[in-house]
Symmetry: C2
Subunit: 373 residues, 2 copies
């Protein structure tokens, strides 16, 4: 089966690496003009001239990036099956639609307002109580198009800096940790869930994801499972869905946002789970049985951002797995990740700290459960 | 680093899939005219016209197939580092040299004779006692160029059917099992060893490899480690070396043959060990630290030969990993393998039997230790 992928970055690359063993071939449609997948056949098509060529090659289409024109995806759907569907893209690329869906499905979220002017932003900031986070409704990615307001008076400056006609304003959440759920739904409706991961972001960019969590109670995992299953079923979803949540001090989970694709916070599954998120996404989109999502051992994903570290020294640490994306160094760019696996969380922490020391500019790892180890 | 690979079959394919995450790129030189790697850049060069082009692209050269002209490899060595060296190829593609090396290094082998006529073959069969196995000195691969003589009188027919000017004749060994060692030597001389695997061949073709072995005593593993380390050091070897041995009833190990490359009996490491043989081979050839060879759990590699099985049903078995080579079906052809992983050997056996039932023509699995489970 030839899998068509919209987008040709590192997520597409890792999908292909997981799919070759299943016998798949890959054709990427790159609309940016700067593909980096480095495997498979890449059709560079920034002006949307080669869609017919792409469609002629592929049996089924998926994507590594949800900020695509919905009309493009709808057009593709007329010719080939697309998983997840354009409906998932439509919802996930629009924060207002996404919040409305969470509300409709009774999935709790932080308090929020939708605003369409600096004045409304200021009013929302007063109502919700500062600090608040203002986010553009569309095209947000990795902390871009966002601003934190420490006081309502900062509304005008924030409005201008974001530069969008519609924003979602969210109350700050007093969270214990940021977590994420990765789940997979097959074409037959079967759903499997990975153990929840704890994520550490710095300046809006993911730096560390660790799973499974030693202090997670079963009920909280089940609550998260229920939330994401509701979303999957509602969207008649096929493939991997990622859902980021806040775990609050009172023990509840608030949905932050979701992504209709394989997700950076699921990269730990490549070495830490029986079946990786990439393989399970591909199994789902081609109608194969889903693989076990069981964790093998405590695993931490360490992102390599901007500059590469001492790769040889990291590989010298036992059970440390390097995943480079074959991209040139550039500030803020995701270049690689390292999956560190250990027998215990205590040993894991030591090894992650050793990795961190080998990576330029990597922030200290801070797990919510460090003091319980 | 761009890795040049001589040969473009499934072993090269799996090397590439292991090397992309390390940031490698791959250029294959295919001398057969029918490459099947399906990844990387393939230079099809049956008439040896494109060597300069290949050399211009690559930083270091390795190979997936040892039956290459030694002169070609020596020519390449003048321009780029080749690991393992042409010396390893020279030894491994010639059974007489190989046996002589085993003898010189005091690595025990089955009793053998070198013969150069049907008459000498008959005499050797009498001396060694039938049955004996006669093998062509060069170009043997997967049971081709071999004959079993049940009586000395079969010498003339065997000589004719093999059709080579020089044969090695080996006494049959009353073995408990066939095992293999996979070891890796780095550019700095560091050596790591995988746990020994038990192999089941049918008609000279490998069907199952299982590791680690529940009934293997530490001393036997250490003996095998010593044998292969002696070979690695003697050849100043870099990369993965595979050594097939017989375990006899009296508990000794006799070396059968070796292969200077990643090996089918090491495919279990892709899902059953911390670092796969493919990744460790690539780490070695580019001078990176070697990865842990520790087994994660009992694992059995099941070869898919000639015809594919019910892949969807196999993927429905938990912790079963499919590795397809993207090749068309053909009698006797290796098309894929399945790695089955389980918590215990008993569970593993059940799952392997379930796999076998889903594969056309797969022989019943027979492990030497089945009755101890």
């Amino acid at each position: 089966m030839n899998i068509g992928v919209l987008g040709a970055g590192q997520l597409g690359r890792m999908l292909a690496l997981a799919g070759y063993p299943l016998g798949n071939r890959f054709t990427f449609l790159d609309t940016t003009g700067s593909p980096s997948a480095g495997v498979g056949e890449v059709i560079v098509d920034p002006d949307n001239q080669h869609l017919a060529e792409f469609l002629a090659k592929v049996d089924v289409v998926t994507y590594e990036f949800e900020h695509l024109p919905v009309t493009l995806v709808q057009e593709i759907e007329k010719h080939k099956p697309v998983y997840p569907s354009s409906r998932a893209i439509e919802v996930c690329q629009n924060r207002v639609e996404e919040k409305a869906l969470f509300d409709r499905l009774n999935i709790p979220t932080p308090a929020y307002r939708v605003v369409e002017s600096a004045e409304q932003l200021e009013a929302a900031a007063r109502e919700l109580g500062c600090p608040v986070v203002a986010k553009s409704v569309t095209e947000g990615y990795d902390g871009k198009g966002q601003a934190v307001l420490k006081a309502p008076e900062e509304a005008a400056a924030a409005w201008q800096s974001i530069g969008h006609a519609q924003l979602v304003v969210e109350a700050f959440v007093d969270f214990v940790r940021e977590v994420s759920m990765i789940a997979v739904r097959g074409r037959d409706g079967e759903v499997v869930f990975y153990p929840m991961a704890e994520n550490q972001h710095v300046d809006g960019i993911l730096r560390y994801s660790v799973a499974p969590l030693p202090d997670l109670d079963v009920q909280m995992q089940q609550t998260a499972d229920t939330y994401i299953r509701t979303l999957l079923d509602e969207l008649d979803y096929v493939g991997v869905l990622a859902l980021e949540l806040f775990q609050t001090r009172d023990g509840s989970l608030l949905a932050n946002e979701m992504a209709p694709r394989v997700h950076n916070s699921g990269h730990w599954t490549m070495d830490g789970a029986v079946t990786s998120q990439f393989e399970n996404h591909l199994r789902a989109v081609q109608g194969l049985p889903l693989g076990s999502t069981q964790a093998i051992a405590p695993t931490c994903m360490v992102n390599v951002i901007g500059r590469e570290g001492d790769n040889a020294a990291m590989l010298a640490l036992a059970n440390t797995h390097l995943h480079r994306y074959d991209k040139a160094e550039r500030a803020g760019r995701k270049l690689a990740h390292v999956n560190v696996v250990a027998a215990t969380h205590t040993e894991l922490l030591e090894k992650v700290r050793a990795c961190q020391a080998l990576l330029p500019d990597a922030p200290p790892v801070e797990w919510s459960f460090t003091n319980t180890l």
